[in-house]
């Protein structure tokens, strides 16, 4: 059974965090790391799952 909202704990090292900082500084993906992770994840899903369905 999946709740309405599901929390996933995810860890990044400082190098991976630098990548998130680049995205953060672009202002296109959100203002917090949590928002950026969620929006980039959705972009990846769109790219990957859409491609796998075609």
């Amino acid at each position: 059974m999946i709740d309405e909202c599901h929390k996933v704990i995810v860890r990044f090292n400082q190098q991976q965090l630098q990548l998130l900082d680049i995205l953060k500084n672009s202002g296109k993906f959100g203002s917090t790391y949590e928002e950026i992770v969620r929006s980039v994840f959705r972009l990846y899903i769109k790219q990957t799952l859409d491609r796998s369905q075609t």
Partner: protein
Amino acid sequence: MTTAYGNVRFDIILKPVSGKAVPVYKGEVLRITQVDGGQCVDFNCYNLHNYKEHMSVGPSAGFRKVKGDLVMSRHPWARPMLAILEMPESCVTDVIAPGCSSSLFKRRTGIDDHTNCQHTFSQCIAEYGLNAEDIHNSFNLWMNSAWTEDGKYFSSPNRNTGKKGDHVDFLALMDVLAVPVTCGGGDVSRGSNYWFKPVQVQVLETSDELRALTHDYISRYPAKDTDEPAKPIRSKRELEAIPGYQHHFKNYPLRIHEFSIELTVEDYLNLQKLERMGLGDDDEDALRSAVIEWYVTNYNAAALPVPGQK
């Protein structure tokens, strides 16, 4: 449209089983031409001002280098040395075979003193004070190697496809010592179709167009300081641990940052789909993999196009 080159500055015919170390200055073109066709050419290349920086022969852009590819130097420099301006399809290249040796032919043919590229290279670079220990793995031109799906490699299972008049043009992106040699193993293999042939080597002077192209290539690979400054070249051969030595690994130990990410039902179902597709062993692994993979695939600002390639 072809690039305008300068005049021929150097012109030599390499007789069979010979070679030549040739300085090629930044902006000049090294041209290697099949005189009769069907001759494998092995190739080494060094920074003319620092022999420790030599060509890195590896599948950086695939196992076959082709027209438009760059030839990079080894780490820690890892910068473009040469650009392949011209290379016909009949020139199959190979970056796996290290260059033939006398021990190889002893094993294969029983002959003790067969010609071989290691020896030819050593004779060529000796003119510049280098020796057999300075030879690096060869970039092989007109070498029709092959491998199987399970990774078994064959250096010359196919006949040499080089045609008379075929030529390869390398644009020097730094001052280099180029060392082309005619492969010494082709009389007992399909590498040169069981007969040695001559090869022409020329250096063409730079031109306005070549200078612009050189600048274009180099500007796309901005100079990066090496991680460690150049050290004096060792004179001692024996390796012994230095007492009390402390490692200084980059970003070590890693710092870990933890986040709690709220996902909607739809997001979470998609995350589980990714896991079923093999992207991650658990929720965290899949989420992290998706985020980083999207970045390196879509947001790599350093991935600039190479001149001449789309």
